[in-house]
Symmetry: C2
Subunit: 418 residues, 2 copies
């Protein structure tokens, strides 16, 4: 487990999270990490030169401790586990504190490539930390159960029902939310397994999902990722160098003190009706999205990063970007400037009884306030988005994401010891 002590240890991801976020202004951020949130490949491109197979991927290291939790602005990893836990009857504030202290300590050790504790089963032995991140969130139900009702932020009110929702409540919600990302599936599984075992007696796992993204180095140059519909996805994600990035993604002064510097994350498990989607011609797919499939350029012209011109018309006077195109309905201009940092992963859980793939998007979006982010956007999408005919929202969650923990501290400490 000590491969991180070799040359390049701690720098293989191309930047350290402290350098990225440690009280930095926009100037500091615009350097190494510029555009890093746009996609996995960007991180790979910023990794130092070194022989492939030298363990450079394994040595990638993201510090657990810092002003923000890890796993929000860092490049998405190749593998992700999401899980929710509910406190067992009888467990309250004290037990929650013990668990979060333990989970935080473990996550920090695993993030350094060290064994966790006596629960470690050596599944990740030999491998480096592989850019492992562990991120914790608190669901709306946690506060009553842990005797913290007066600390529950109003922005954590349950999400409204949307017209096309088909939610499985057993795979939604939960008191505690955990996101584990790593570039190696065994490293990610090991972390999940250790956290599961440490929760025993305090919290039971409510649901667990697994997702994936591109493996670093799969593309020859940095590119925005694609989803399982084959569409370029993430072009307009906020970037850390944007002036209003923090205001969009991280909580402001109107939030409880314990959440200062934190965020909210919305999870939607969105199944894609791929049989239906793939029966469309590419031309029709493009009009559903409003972007070219080959390179993600808007149908109003230009390249991938050209701003969408919603007023542009075809020669015959029709809208270049159709009235129900996804990019039009989702455009910030249509939603009072609402913005979220999307960090979605694809998922594929085998075959459904009808023979179609159980596959789609584990949509994750970090935002300063879901009432100004996800809720208005999804309200519009659920009514007017042509893409919604090809999607099923099957699970949902909303969690407050506390700020990061300093060395020696744990996530949620300001809430639990406030």
């Amino acid at each position: 487990m000590n491969s991180t002590t070799g040359p390049g240890a701690g720098t293989a991801a191309g930047f350290s999270r402290r350098a990225l976020l440690g009280g930095a202004g926009a100037g500091l951020v615009a350097g190494a990490a510029g555009g890093a949130v746009l996609g996995r490949a960007t991180a790979a491109a910023s990794a130092p030169a070194g022989p492939a197979g030298s363990g450079a991927l394994g040595a990638g290291q993201v510090p657990f401790h810092g002003p923000r939790q890890a796993g929000i602005v860092e490049p998405q990893q190749a593998r992700v586990h999401l899980a929710a836990f509910d406190l067992v009857p009888g467990a309250g504030r004290a037990e929650l504190r013990t668990l979060l202290r333990r989970w935080s300590g473990t996550s920090a050790r695993l993030g350094r490539g060290e064994p966790a504790d006596e629960y470690e089963s050596r599944i990740a032995a030999d491998a480096g930390p592989c850019s492992l991140t562990v991120t914790f969130g608190f669901g709306p139900t946690l506060f009553d159960r842990a005797g913290l009702a007066e600390h529950r932020p109003r922005a954590l009110d349950p999400l409204p029902d949307f017209p096309e929702d088909a939610l499985d409540r057993a795979r939604s919600d939960g008191d505690l939310w955990v996101q584990i990302g790593a570039d190696d599936a065994l490293v990610a599984f090991n972390a999940l397994r250790v956290l599961q075992r440490q929760a025993a007696g305090t919290a039971t796992q409510r649901w667990q999902m697994t997702g994936f993204g591109r493996t670093p180095g799969a593309t020859a140059r940095p590119v925005t990722g694609r989803n399982l519909m084959g569409q370029v996805d993430g072009t307009n994600n906020p970037r850390p160098q944007d002036q209003d990035f923090a205001a969009k993604v991280f909580c402001g002064a109107d939030e409880p003190d314990w959440l200062a510097g934190g965020s909210y994350v919305v999870l939607r498990r969105i199944r894609m009706l791929l049989d239906n989607w793939e029966n469309l011609s590419e031309d029709r797919q493009e009009r559903v999205i409003g972007r070219r499939k080959s390179d993600g350029a808007p149908l109003s012209g230009g390249g991938e990063h050209t701003a969408v011109d919603l007023a542009a018309q075809n020669a015959d006077g029709t809208l270049a970007v159709p009235a129900d195109a996804h990019v039009r309905v989702a455009a910030p201009a249509s939603n009072g400037g609402a913005a979220m940092l999307r960090r979605g992963f694809s998922y594929h859980d085998g075959m459904l009884p009808d023979g179609s793939p159980d596959a789609g998007l584990l949509f994750l979006a970090f935002q300063a306030d879901p009432r100004r982010g996800f809720v208005p956007v999804q309200r519009k999408l659920s009514r007017g988005d042509g893409l919604s005919r090809f999607l099923r929202h099957e699970a949902s969650g909303l969690y407050a994401v506390p700020p990061g923990a300093p060395e020696g501290g744990y996530v949620g400490q300001a809430l639990l010891e406030g």
Copy 2:
């Protein structure tokens, strides 16, 4: 999709399959590919030096055409899809031929990093082939259905029932078997999706499973992989440079002509009872396996690759490798020299209703004859192996794996046009 045209295209995996197997004797094999079957990391180590993130992982290319099918002796990829298909009523030899010709052509194109055909949905666009391999097998039921009963090899008789089997027949067997491996999950999914759609009207998917292994570069040096029990797994796998490698893995002259140079593959979906396993002390786990957990060395002494001394005793006169230890019961010496090329992947399909992980091993073993390979080994294991208390065999399959197809040909051609 054209990243393979850049520098290093076709060589990033460190060797070409033609160089490895194109009529080569042991001398040729012992070079670049030596030990490659032992684990993923070996392949990464043999990749050419180049800047991480340069797309070297993506450019890895394994030719589809050749005397053997791809995906048998090549290093295991980070991601695998397994699927079985059954011919639809009315589909026979002619329809099967059309499908295999189409699947073969598509697999060759995808293996070169080219789009498949009109069914390609651009999911893998931007990425290189990522060492994609597609391997086809024929189940015992195929021959009657396709009017080929007289060509069915006797070694394809259904596997016997073993005492502890708990097989789900809906996830077992099948007329046609497909193994898709790639170092990028989107590339693998794209290939699966295209093959699924091409089968429509000829064959329906019977089951589909997904597995994973180490990501290239996750370890600092080449090492044998680990399974989800945390155990080093694969130490004694036959190696291509072994004198008797081909005799163990590939069919001999006693097989039908159409299978010359082919193989048999046994699939077992083996769930691990991880809650029970992890409750054992590491010391007890080691005695169940017969090897040290830290480095895989046999309990009889030495290092990982030291031969197991089954007669060795502890100071108190007890056997160093217990009587029911997995390595003792599975040892070739206990099975008349039976050997298989294991190419297993871990799997993790979320949470079972009891809260435990639905996780374990997609055991795959290629062999010259299952009646001298898997069957006698599993017969012994199912009776005397201490490890079997922690395993559940939940699905099973046996397939004949035809030889590879030459350029312009397709897999199974000698059977279907013989």
